[in-house]
Symmetry: C2
Subunit: 237 residues, 2 copies
DNA sequence: AATTTCTGCATTGTTAACAATCTATGTCAA
DNA sequence: TTGACATAGATTGTTAACAATGCAGAAATT
């Protein structure tokens, strides 16, 4: 009786298929396995995930509402392709939000949380040593989500995850070949600053890090690949 | 030719019907015209907005992804009913984000922006004097969105708007009859602190204000109305 | 009378067919 | 060769019918 009720609760919140598709695409974007402008055709997704078209379309709608996917009327869904302006907006937002996150962490972080963060950085180093590029990229972004998660605040975590994922797209588009991933010593510095208990220096550490990432990008010039070839050719804009 | 292209661009991003439904429900929640737990039946929405069921369902999905609507499998959509924990999470998130917003505003706000904010507060006072409760509620929340909008950063604005809207639900659920809306003199104080150019005092002003709102709530006790009667009666949880 | 079970109705979820739009290819004229 | 135009195929958008589930009221049993 109790078990049955619990089972129902699981399926109640979010359909497993639905969230599965969203998560998989989310992860793929984070690991830069899905490049901006990649077409996500409904049929392909249906076959990939073995679900009906409705599920796919719902997942795409959710992804588009979070800026990960660009839904174009009658033309299909594409992995989003943030403009330079959007990129700056994401970084400004991240600066404001993540400084708040580390500031509060500096005030009251538990030993367990510190260990979790250090373990994460260690994983990053390992992945770096093994030249596992995909894993390095994934962990670099995940570190910032991990920071947010220390607050055990789903609302906050969701916001940060969205911004981090969009950052992956931005790096893919504007990243210069050098230094397109967070150097992990900066991550370690952030942890140190938090542990030191000084909110201000923690803020400075993350601000420095985010600005460093942003400056490693090429936001002034044109984007990688065709700027907006598709739209231009079809007479839009 | 150019006009035609622009017209297309409009319909390209978000379907007007779709966004219209979302916005209307969003506004209704902000103005506390839609109470938590209100059932949003598909048929009723179809008739209200004169659109097909598909549009309605898509709108509900979007609203649920933002925590405004609770989609229950086979049971329908209800205006969300945040728990006390969720409420605290929203306030923590708002504290972190909005302190960042006003801090940066204190560093670099233009004269136009100040005027826009002051005009907003004046509208609040007017509404208060006319005892237009709905309008007061709407403007109280909108002030915080207005603050975010000074950064001209859609990413940031979207996050704040979502949190503010969820706060409306929280106030509706946990608000004591007294002081359930932001007192506008605090809004004025926030502007003053920003104008003074001191980031720290601006942070303090908004922190004070948000804590004040949170403390005017009754987050410890049970929620207004039936705590979770529906779920209990149907044997869930 | 209270509780349980059953039945019909209303609402939601899903599917599949259809309509509309876009893309690519091929044809024709300049 | 180049460009416009037309056609066919593929893809997306929409609708309507159907299936599944939940809900409320009636009937029946204790």
């Amino acid at each position: 009786m109790t078990n049955e009720a619990e089972d129902k609760l699981d399926t109640l919140r979010t359909d497993p298929d639905e969230q599965m598709i969203v998560d998989r695409i989310y992860s793929a974007v984070m690991e830069q396995k899905l490049a901006p402008r990649t077409k996500l055709s409904e049929l392909a997704l249906c076959e990939t995930f073995g679900v009906g078209r409705m599920r796919v379309r719902r997942a795409l709608l959710l992804l588009s509402s979070q800026g990960i996917v660009d839904l174009q009327s009658n033309r299909g869904a594409y992995v989003a392709c943030p403009s330079a302006d959007e990129a700056r907006e994401v970084f400004v937002a991240r600066l404001m939000i993540e400084t708040g996150i580390v500031r509060e962490l500096a005030r009251c972080i538990g030993e367990n949380d510190v260990q979790a963060l250090r373990a994460h950085v260690e994983k990053e180093e390992l992945a770096r040593k093994s030249d596992d590029r995909t894993e390095v990229i994934r962990l670099s972004g995940a570190f910032h989500v991990e920071l947010a998660e220390r607050h055990e605040n789903p609302v906050l975590t969701r916001v940060v995850r969205e911004l981090v994922t969009r950052t992956s797209l931005i790096v893919a588009l504007f990243g210069t070949n050098q230094a397109s991933t967070c150097p992990d010593d900066e991550h370690a510095s952030i942890i140190d600053a938090i542990v030191s208990g000084n909110p201000h220096s923690a803020e400075e550490a993350i601000r420095h890090h985010l600005l460093h990432v942003q400056n490693s990008l090429d936001l002034e010039q044109t984007q990688k690949a065709e700027p907006d070839l598709v739209k231009i050719l079809t007479g839009r804009i």
